[in-house]
């Protein structure tokens, strides 16, 4: 039984590219193209893990993550936050701040290298 991963990102091209990486590793993939849709699909699709973009127009990744973690039925789904590397100098602070605000389980910079993404996902799923 392949594990199911929900990708939440408002950029369809990025969703497609990440899907292809995951599908090549035999994961089942579901996609949502915004924060609100992402929250819905988290309930309906019953994913094993969520890959969540931060910058989305309707509801950003921090807010989505907060709601997920506040929901007793969803809070155990690991969340891998896709952070854009907005700053070379302040990367550490950015991720620290993101971690504090979101209680996400892990972070990864985008664009991602396939093997790094897969390794992180495997680690989270094996917990």
């Amino acid at each position: 039984m392949p594990k199911k991963i929900l990708i939440v990102d408002d950029d369809p091209d990025l969703v497609e590219a990440v899907s292809m990486i995951l599908e090549s590793k035999n994961y089942e993939v579901a996609a949502a193209y915004g924060g609100v849709e992402g929250l819905q699909k988290a309930k309906t699709e019953n994913p094993d893990l969520i890959v969540l973009d931060v910058m989305m127009p309707d509801k950003d990744g921090y807010a989505v993550c907060k709601e997920l973690k506040a929901d007793p039925e969803l809070k155990n789904i690991p969340v891998l936050l896709l952070t854009a590397v907005v700053s070379k100098i302040a990367t550490t602070r950015y991720t620290q701040a993101a971690g504090l605000e979101t209680e996400a389980d892990d972070y990864i910079d985008k664009p991602v290298e396939p093997e790094v993404l897969v390794r992180r996902i495997e680690t989270l799923l094996s917990k």
Partner: protein, 487 residues
């Protein structure tokens, strides 16, 4: 008698006026006192007596010299005339020479008198000038658009102008005559002024800083603070000049926001493109020929370069908007540098460059933003490694100099040409030589470094010799909180 005297004196080149009696003489004087120096006065005259005339002259023209001519050669009348203010006397009868001698002596005296008068007036005028100069200066300072704040060595404000009180939002009477630590000055400014008063190092010239004043209507000031020293080099006070830079800040903020917006809009599609290229290159979208792989790898590298550039631009706009350097804390530089060296080790080893941090004998503490400082030294060390050929050396030293922590990063790299040296801190400036063509960079690294150092009131300088190597020197003010000063 009159005519005789007149002839004798005219011969000597003196101008002579005559009057028949005392009344006429006084009237003439009334109109011509300016041109008259010496008066020859006969004591025995019909009508008004000589003594009376003498008294009138002394009252109305005290400067003029009167020589009395005494007809009877009586010592008494001569003495009496002298008592009443005559300058000299000449007894009748007299020879032309006697007359000339007496008149010449009186004229000489008169010249001296005039010179003394002239000097006295000069002195009076220059005193008056000093007084007007003082009020002029006061007016200028009062009307200046820039704020001025002067305090003595005890930290008591001795001079301020309306602009200063307006900018600092402190009433003028709460400034003048008060100690700087008692008039609710902006704490950063207070600290700088106190430091400038304490500065013993003669190299401490001036500090320039940006301040934000007020909470509701925030205004931004640029403050230049400099110690005032006497001839012995002792600090006797401090001068601060304030400029309102709110409108500049506003423009700068708009510019930074614009850059940030554009950068975000550029970054998202580029990240997607790179992600797609990554997928193709990893054969996740089917087979790829060798030639395709080569081209796509290059395309991926170029998008990476663009993403780097955007990231640097964002950093720079954030630093300039004052958003980056907000978390200043006491930092031991040794620890920061140690961490950077650890991080850069792999990069150095890959390039077979010997990276060394000379263990410092001093351990300065600075007041700084940790991420900012890591950024500064990561940039400098990474540059040094980049521009040093295989087998070269990169060395970092840390020491204290005056009130500053001093860090040097030197390499044995390709060096920088003299004409490039002064521009390397400019945005987007990259040194173009055959050796640097292969090195990837955005041309923003050093301007980011400089912005961060500036935001910490520090300075950065560079020395380089082409083909031999380059040394960057960073000076950062040491932490000077209350715990660090014996006072």
């Amino acid at each position: 008698m009159r005519d005789g005297c007149c002839r004798i004196l005219t011969k000597n080149g003196w101008e002579v006026f005559t009057a028949e009696n005392g009344k006429q003489g006084l009237e003439h004087l009334k109109a011509h006192s300016e041109e008259t120096d010496v008066i020859l006065l006969d004591l025995m005259m019909p009508g008004m007596s000589g003594m009376e005339v003498l008294e009138q002259i002394r009252t109305h023209h005290p400067d003029l010299l009167v020589i009395v001519i005494t007809g009877y050669a009586t010592v008494e009348s001569a003495v009496e005339a002298m008592k009443r203010g005559a300058y000299d006397f000449i007894p009748k009868p007299f020879t032309p020479d006697q007359l000339r001698i007496v008149v010449r002596r009186a004229l000489e005296k008169r010249t001296l008198q005039k010179e003394a008068e002239f000097l006295r007036r000069e002195r009076e005028r220059s005193l008056r000038d000093v007084a007007t100069e003082k009020s002029k200066l006061k007016t200028i300072i009062h009307c200046m658009g820039d704020g001025v704040l002067v305090c003595d060595r005890e930290g008591c404000i001795v001079l301020s102008n309306p602009a200063a009180s307006r900018m600092l939002k402190i009433p003028e009477d709460s400034l003048i005559g008060n100690y700087i630590n008692q008039c609710h000055l902006n704490s950063e400014l207070l600290r700088t002024i106190e430091e400038s008063l304490r500065a013993k190092d003669r190299n401490y010239i001036s500090v320039s800083q940006e301040l934000s004043i007020g909470e509701e209507e925030e205004t931004y000031l640029r403050a230049h603070t400099a110690p005032v020293r006497n001839d012995l080099g002792e600090t006797i006070g401090s001068v601060t000049v304030l400029q309102d830079i709110s409108h500049l800040k506003e423009l700068d903020k708009m510019k930074s926001e614009f850059i940030a917006m554009v950068a975000h809009e550029l970054r998202a599609p580029l990240a997607a493109v790179e992600q797609q290229l990554t997928v193709i290159l990893n054969r996740m979208a089917g087979e790829v020929t060798e030639k395709q792989e080569q081209l796509l790898s290059r395309a991926k590298e170029r998008t990476k370069g663009l993403l780097d550039l955007i990231r640097d631009l964002l950093d720079l706009s954030k630093i300039e908007a004052g958003k980056m350097i907000q978390y200043k804390e006491p930092l031991t530089l040794q620890e920061v540098i140690q961490k950077v060296v650890e991080l850069m080790k792999t990069e150095a080893e890959q390039k077979r460059v010997d990276l060394q941090f000379i263990p410092p004998t001093q351990n300065p503490v600075i007041h700084a933003d940790r991420n900012g400082m890591e950024g500064v030294f990561t940039n400098l060390v990474s540059n040094a490694i980049k521009y040093t050929p295989e087998g070269g050396k990169v060395q970092i030293t840390l020491s204290e100099e005056g009130g500053f922590a001093k860090v040097t990063v030197s390499d044995t790299g390709i060096g920088i040409k003299k004409e490039d040296l002064q521009r390397i801190f400019d945005k987007f400036y990259r040194v173009k030589t055959p050796q640097t063509r292969q090195i990837v960079g955005t041309g923003l690294g050093l301007s980011i470094v400089k912005s961060i150092v500036d935001a910490h009131l520090g300075s950065i300088s560079v020395e380089s010799e082409e083909g031999k190597g380059t040394t960057f020197t960073v000076l950062l003010p040491k932490e000077s909180g209350p715990n660090f000063h014996p006072c």
